[in-house]
Structure formats: C-alpha cells, structure tokens
C-alpha cells in the first residue's frame, strides 16, 4: 500500500487529485459517472458576492487539442451557495474547496468572510486570474502589487487554508507567486487559462461572444508544466499544478516538477470519470517504481 496523502497548508488531502473549478460543477453532476468521494478535493464553481449571469452565448470554441471558454463566472452568488449548495456538498466525503472571485477587493473579502463561517469548507481558492470578466479577475493577478493587495486583504478575513490561483498571462509568474506568498497565501495553484482567440473565417467574425477567451486542455500542458516547475523553485508554500492534465502520467509529471497536488480540468469534459482514473494511475505508478509515498516524487525531477 502506497501513501497517497498530501498536505496543502493545514489542509490534509487523502490524495493529490482535485478537480478544477468550473469543470466539475458542484461535484454532484459527476456522481453518475464515478465515486466522487475518491477525490482528494473538489474545487467548486467560481463564486462571487452577487449573482452573475455570465457572458452571452457562444462561450466555447474547440481548438486543436484544446478549447476556449468565456463563461464569465456565471453563478448564483455566495448567499445562494450557503443556503442551497453547501448543505448538499458538505455531505460529500472529500474536501470541498470554494473558488472565490470578485470585481473589487471588498467583494473578495466579503465573500471569503462568509465562506469562512462554513465548518465543512476547509479552504478557498482565490481566483485572481479569470480572463473572462471585464472588472476584477485577471486584472488583480497580472501585477505583483495588486495581487498582494487582494491576498492580504482576504488573509485578514479568512483564517483557513488560502490558495491563490495564478494567471499564466504574465511575463514572470514567479514574481506574482512570491508576492502572494508574502501577502499570506498558504498555497498557489497554476495555471488558470491562457488568453486566446478563435475566428470563423467564413463569417469573418470571432467565435466567442467576448472575442477572446481562456484556453485550456492538453495543448496548454507544456506551458503549465514549465510554470509549475519555475514556481515550485521560487516559493516555499505548496504549489498545486494544473493545465491540460488528461492522464495519471500527466499528473505525475506535474508532481515531479514540484506540485504537491494537481487539478483535473478540461479532461473532465472528455471523460467524466477521468479524475478517479488519475487517482488509481498515480498509485499504480508509485507501486511500479517502488515508492512508498507520493511525497517521494514531489519535486523529484532529476536534471
């Protein structure tokens, strides 16, 4: 038996496999396809202080080995989450992490303080990297000063594990990672989607209603892997790796690059039971290579 458990701040996870925000709904959508309690954690859909309708349709374009989305944080707001969704998701036997987004610092702080009162939500993931909203979102995450500002404000209002989700749409992601570490983040997760675009040549129009959108899927994996590797060397807090992970081998690559845990995103759309298969596959990899714990391969890349 190999040990799969890992730690993110004070948060103990039974294994390093999480599902990425916005790709797994509230978890229950996937219960027909897999045992969702086998996951290390579920990061639920981005939640904001007030309800958001999101962007108009079309919000999605498929690209070679990837996709663009421009959902724009559609959700019913944090109060709805507390009253209607939390009572359901708290029953799931795994860590439920809420992804928190906002248009201004005060939005983030208020939403985080409300989530802080929920006993069965052990962590939040602060989304300072959404490319699909006009205000807030990525605007906070592309400069070290503004990233640190929002993180330190939330830190004062939130006393459980605080993960900060970083944008790849920057010149040097390690600079942002160090800034949020300094501001009190317990962990960073990366990468959010890469800003991209798709055009319908026949119609001479953009495919997405927002013109640009966030790119994800296997096509972004090499970029994500490089950024995780760089960031893991630059900060002391645990790094959570994501970006195009479609198999246990992909997940192991991120762990070797220095990630303490991984998130599965777009692959959930391809195979709704993939995240459970990745848990099994990591265990199989560790056994095959004679490791007794997943901790032995975190950052174990030989260069």
């Amino acid at each position: 038996m190999v040990q799969l458990n890992t730690k993110i701040g004070s948060l103990e996870l039974k294994n390093p496999v999480m599902t990425a925000s916005g790709t797994f709904g509230y978890g229950t959508e996937y219960a027909d396809f897999m045992d969702i309690s086998r996951l290390g954690a579920i990061i639920v859909k981005g939640t904001t202080l007030n309800p958001r309708q999101g962007n108009p349709y079309p919000r999605m374009a498929e690209t070679p080995s990837g996709m663009l989305n421009a959902v724009g944080l559609q959700n019913k707001g944090v109060d709805y989450f507390v009253d209607h969704i939390y009572p359901e998701v708290r029953k799931i036997q795994t860590a439920i992490i809420v992804n928190v987004s906002g248009s201004c610092i005060d939005d983030y702080v208020q939403t985080a303080s409300i989530i802080n009162t929920l006993d069965d939500i052990p962590a939040i993931e602060l989304n300072i990297s959404c490319p699909n909203v006009k205000q807030g979102g990525m605007a906070f995450g592309v400069k070290p000063e503004s990233a640190a500002q929002v993180v330190s404000a939330v830190r004062k209002a939130y006393d459980k594990t605080l993960i900060v989700k970083l944008s790849p749409n920057v010149t040097d992601i390690t600079e942002i990672a160090r800034a949020v570490e300094g501001a009190g983040a317990d962990s960073v997760s990366l990468i959010n989607t890469m800003l991209g675009m798709a055009i319908d040549a026949e119609k001479r129009r953009p495919i997405l209603s927002t013109i640009t959108g966030g790119m994800s899927g296997p096509a972004v994996k090499p970029v994500a892997l490089r950024m995780v590797w760089q960031t893991a060397k630059a900060v002391k807090i645990p790094v959570i790796g994501l970006g195009g992970i479609c198999s246990a081998t992909d997940a192991v690559e991120f762990l070797l690059a220095g990630a303490s845990a991984v998130q599965i995103g777009t692959a959930n759309f391809i195979d709704p039971s993939i995240s459970e298969k990745v848990v099994d596959g990591i265990e199989e990899y560790l056994e095959r290579h004679g490791f007794s714990s997943v901790q032995e391969i975190i950052g174990a890349l030989e260069v």
């Binding site: 790709t23 079309p58 919000r59 999605m60 498929e62 391809i270």
Partner: protein, 252 residues
Amino acid sequence: MLVADNRMVGPCATLLTLQYPGELPDMAAGQFAELQVPSAKVILRRPISIHAIDRAKSLVEFLIQIVGEGTQSLAQLKAGDKVNVLLPLGNGFSYRTTHSAHPLLIGGGVGVAPLLFLGQEFAEHGIKPTFLFGGRNESLILRKEEFTKYGDLFMTTEDGSAGEKGFVTNHSLLLDSDQFDRIYACGPTPMLKAVARWAKEHETACEVSLEHRMACGIGACLCCVEDTADQGNVCVCKEGPVFETDRLKWFN
C-alpha cells in the same frame, strides 16, 4: 458501444447505428448522447440527438450531419468499431406529459433527426403525427421514407425541387392553424424563431430542441447556455435541449 452500421444517407449525412450492451435504458425523444470522436485532434465529445431506437435489438441510431473534423471522423467509423458514448442526456420533448393528440413536427436540415424517434413514440401510442420539413433542396431532406411510416410528410424547399417552394412557415398546411394542438421543432435557429413566432401568433403550444455548442453535456461547464425568462442563462444540455418557446427570450 459497438458500431453495428454506418452509412451515408444524404450528400453530407451519415446514419450511425450503435449496439447497446444489454437492455436499453429508458430514453425519451429529444434526448441526446455525447459521442467520443475517434480523432487525436478533436478532444471534445460531439452532442448528437437520438434519431431512433430499436428496443428489441438494443440499437440506437444517430443521424449525423458532417460539418467538421469531429463529425467527419464519426462518419468514418466502421461496423465493429467501439465508441465511448454517454446517454441518454438532457430532457426530451414533453409528449409523455402533454399528451398532444394532433402534433405537428417541424424539422429543418439535420434537425429532422430527433423527430423520427418522436414520430415513433407517437405512433406507438396510436397518434399519427404530421411532419413538415424544410431544406435548401430535395436531397437535403433526409430519410423521407422512414418518416412516412409514421405520418404524413409535407415539405418546403428553397429551390422548389420538392414540396412547396419557400420556408416551412410559408407552407399552405399552416393556413388552417387550428388543426394542430402542439408544435415540436428542431433545426437551424432562424427557422425555430420563425416557427416560434408563428406559434405565438396562432396561440399554438410550441417546443423546440436547440443545438448549442457544448463541452461537458452534463451541466458542469456552463458553455451551452440559453437565456430564459424565468431563470436567466441555463444550460441547454441539462435544462434542455428541448424548451417551451414561451420560456425563451426570443421576441423581447
């Protein structure tokens, strides 16, 4: 599921028949499936409506219009190939609860696909549906003989090569607006909007099946939304794909 048969049934449409292992789950006309595409470049599944089923033989048919790389790869599947399929997904037409006695089934292009299953279901309950299909020309109105097994088929074509020349909403069948108690439609959005407008003007109940771009197919990614009067943006995959047209914000 295993491919039982796959053959071209029009200039750019294939009829894919899959063998379900064991007894078919309960499926309603208007529900759809997410088919994994056998191509390395295409990662997302393709949402395809259920065209017909054979409960005795556990077969499910899909009428697929070839429009891009994904559907092209599906068209190349051969008998005996394996396809990973999620089904049945979404909510079908309301016939099980609304009990229409004089249904009009309107289809445009490959939008006729779910209407064969619907026709089959009506026929099994002793109701003879009327079909009204539109296309650019005669060859693009697919599977005419199959539909006429269940009811009368009327057609419009843009070039006049079959039926009446023009669009479905111009067909003389609609001059007597009282002969149908409910319209079930599937096809291109401009056609659905014209049908919905006709239904509204003639106070006829109308439901349409929408074909939005989807990723997950199970209501998780929120990509395939349609704006509704009662709930704002909802997922076509989970809340639909069939909607009563008076829920949609098409005319305000």
